[in-house]
């Protein structure tokens, strides 16, 4: 046995010899990133590039696009899409889909609006009722998908139709419910005081920097794999530029009337940021999140590892529908009312498009909460820019459809390249 062992160990070592713990320099990190992209692992890059192109095109085409007023509009428009898409990310991670999320949000918003108008309940009770309604809808979908075994596409298509009936029954034919609760309506039409906005922005940046650096330090201390300090510094700088830049733009007085200044970050933005931080934490730092990725990557492997696959599959639909409830409330706040047609039409496709454009795969196992926000901003920019250009709405449908198809195409092609190059 000894003779074979000596000959074999040399053979084994020729394959790979060392366990590398870090990419040594920033330059090497960039090369590695380039290789990943060429291998088809593009992440959010297409969305970021697309966003830059859209901004250039629209600012050239319309003088009012790059104004502070329009940027604030864009952010309130993006809010509902981002939140809906964030709820869809775990569902898409399973390789499932929830076509009913948009109308589930409308049902929840109708419940909240009616609870305030007819029952006179305070806003927080109404919001709680809406989220609970979303959870119940998600639980029903999840049980039908995971326990009965109906494909999620069919279950949620059925819910898409049935839930529109529920909204119609709640609100009544041809009617609509006004949303004038100051807190809920204020979510999108009032702003955080400028100073408070700056404080929150700085806290977010400093917190991000501190957490990243602490993690780096403990990885170095325990001799674990870590990124070079330069890359970490770049990440923190990029984060700071985005957060502080957006805050600066929104802190400018954007009112057309000098007597009534409008300045500060709309309340919906911190809400979206809070949800983004929360879901990023859940998906990447908790056991539950790890199990979601595992079930989405290889269901059989997850089952053998002792993970309750059915429970995970049900839970993602609960998350999807309760996030849809919050999204529905944001949409109702933005529109000032809930109508039977709320959440129908292209709401859901916007959200699916947002997640996929951001880099979440329709094939499951790959995606992050931030994809939903990046993609949501892209979708909202298209809707906003085309609106400014006074295009007929058919153009909006055509463009959004084309963008969704393009994103799904990029996803499918990059998936093929990934499997060819053996990257995750």
């Amino acid at each position: 046995m000894t003779s074979t062992e000596t000959s074999s160990s040399s053979l084994a070592e020729t394959d790979f010899a060392v366990d590398s713990r870090q990419v040594a320099t920033v330059g090497q990190a960039f090369t590695a990133y380039g290789n990943r992209i060429r291998g088809g692992d593009m992440g959010a890059l297409p969305a970021v590039l697309g966003l830059i192109v859209l901004f250039v095109v629209f600012s050239l085409a319309s003088s009012s696009f790059l104004t502070a007023l329009n940027m604030a509009n864009l952010i309130t428009q993006a809010g509902a899409i981002c939140v809906l898409a964030m709820g869809l990310v775990p569902v898409l991670l399973m390789g499932d889909i929830d076509l009913s999320a948009g109308v589930a949000g409308a049902v929840a918003a109708a419940i909240a609006a009616l609870a305030i108008r007819d029952q006179g309940l305070p806003w927080y009770v109404a919001v709680l009722a809406a989220v609970v309604a979303g959870m119940v809808i998600g639980l029903a979908i999840g049980l039908l998908v995971a326990k009965v075994g109906i494909p999620s596409f069919v279950v949620t298509l059925a819910f898409f139709l049935a839930l529109q009936g529920v909204t119609l029954r709640l609100i009544g034919q041809g009617g609509s419910v006004r949303v004038d609760d100051p807190v809920i309506r204020g979510l999108t039409i009032t702003n955080v005081p400028v100073l408070a906005g700056w404080v929150v922005a700085v806290v977010i940046v400093v917190g991000f920097a501190a957490l990243t650096l602490l993690r780096y330090r403990s990885q170095v201390a325990r001799d674990l794999q870590h990124q070079p300090l330069g890359v970490i510094a770049l990440k923190i700088a990029g984060m700071a530029v985005i957060v502080l830049g957006v805050t600066a733009v929104l802190s400018v007085n954007r009112s057309r009337n000098p007597n009534f200044p409008i300045e500060g970050v709309p309340y919906v933005l911190p809400l979206v940021a809070l949800l983004l931080i929360f879901w990023t934490f859940v998906l990447t730092r908790t056991r539950y999140g790890r199990h979601v990725y595992a079930v989405g990557g290889n269901r059989e492997a997850a089952r053998r590892a002792g993970i309750n696959v059915d429970r995970i599959r049900i839970s993602v639909f609960v998350i999807g529908s309760s996030m849809a409830a919050i999204s529905g409330i944001i949409a109702a706040s933005n529109a000032g009312s809930v109508s039977p047609s709320s959440g129908a039409g292209n709401t859901l496709l916007y959200a699916v498009g947002a997640a996929v454009i951001g880099g979440t795969s329709l094939f499951g196992g790959k995606g992050q909460a931030r994809d939903a926000v990046i993609g949501g901003v892209v979708i909202a920019t298209i809707a906003n820019g085309l609106g400014l250009l006074n295009q007929a709405s058919y153009i909006n449908f055509l463009v959004t459809g084309a963008v969704l198809l393009l994103a799904a195409g990029v996803d499918a092609v990059s998936r093929r390249r990934r499997s060819a190059s053996g990257l995750g």
């Binding site: 046995m1 074979t4 062992e5 074999s8 160990s9 053979l11 084994a12 070592e13 394959d15 790979f16 010899a17 060392v18 366990d19 590398s20 713990r21 403990s218 990885q219 325990r222 674990l224 794999q225 730092r285 908790t286 056991r287 790890r290 199990h291 990725y293 595992a294 989405g296 990557g297 290889n298 059989e300 492997a301 997850a302 053998r304 590892a305 002792g306 993970i307 196992g365 790959k366 990934r418 499997s419 053996g422 990257l423 995750g424």
Partner: protein
């Protein structure tokens, strides 16, 4: 069937019977796994190898028979019981998640936590320790995604995962079936190292070259019966092939042909 000079078996099954409906798959099977030794389990398709492995792993329950672990009688009512005793199975289809990295796969379902947060640092350090203790030098980084690994590297990760939990007995179902020459080499080396660390290793294989290279003992199954349980040094290649195909070879093997069952 000489057992003189052998240590106390780590795991011993005696008189195991298992049927699926009218089909009697395992007949009074006796099987032993010794610490520090590789026991090859050989047999033709349908001889009952997989059934025996799944019975050991607690996935199937046997109708009759006793099990002893380190000399003490034990009952195994499910995969959890087997895992608690330190019995791990590496299945043929490796059950790794392509979208997760090596560390995440090795700890899947048994993540180390610090409060509600995953303790990534401890997991990474422990995964690296385990791979180093097995002298695995075939992975570039423990943080690379499993989808970027070759077949042999995947097999290595799956085996390393099975020994991460202080396991005593590792059962490997056809670990080299889909591998090339160099990768088979790596995996067989790893199998040998597991035994050298004192684990009881069961290797299921169709490949006689592999079996003769790493196995200390060979248990041949023929139509659900143990045809022979011999030391590798005492038999030849062709004798084992005869045991697999006919159930007997010279004075070894079943006394009746076994087909009467």
């Amino acid at each position: 069937m000489t057992t003189t000079g052998l240590p106390e078996p780590l795991l011993r099954l005696s008189g195991i019977n298992k049927s699926f409906g009218a089909v009697h798959v395992l007949h009074d099977v006796d099987f032993a796994v010794y610490p520090g030794q590789v026991t090859a389990l050989v047999g033709d398709n349908g001889a009952g190898k997989s059934t025996l492995v799944k019975t050991i792993a607690g996935i199937y329950s046997a109708e009759s028979g006793e099990r002893y672990f380190a000399g003490l009688p034990v009952t195994i009512n499910g995969p959890r019981d087997a895992a608690d005793l330190g019995i791990e199975v590496v299945y043929q289809d490796l059950a790794l998640c392509d979208n997760l990295d090596i560390v995440q796969n090795m700890f899947l379902g048994r993540e180390q936590m610090r409060g509600v947060v995953l303790d990534e640092n401890t997991m990474e350090a422990r995964a690296r320790e385990t791979l180093a203790s097995l002298s695995v030098r075939t992975v570039k980084s423990v943080r690379q995604s499993v989808s970027s690994l070759s077949g042999g590297q995947r097999q290595t990760v799956a085996i390393a995962k099975s020994v991460l939990w202080n396991s005593k007995v590792v059962l490997l179902d056809e670990p080299t079936a889909a591998l090339g020459v160099a990768q088979t080499r790596q995996v067989l080396d790893l199998v040998r190292r597991l035994a050298d660390q004192g684990l009881g290793v069961v290797l299921i294989s169709h490949n006689m070259v592999d079996v003769f290279e790493v196995a200390d003992r060979i248990t041949a199954l023929y139509l659900g019966r143990v045809a022979a349980d011999v030391a590798t040094a005492d038999v030849t290649h062709s004798q084992v092939v005869e045991l697999i195909t006919a159930g007997r070879s010279g004075d070894l093997g079943l006394t009746t042909s076994g087909t009467t069952a």
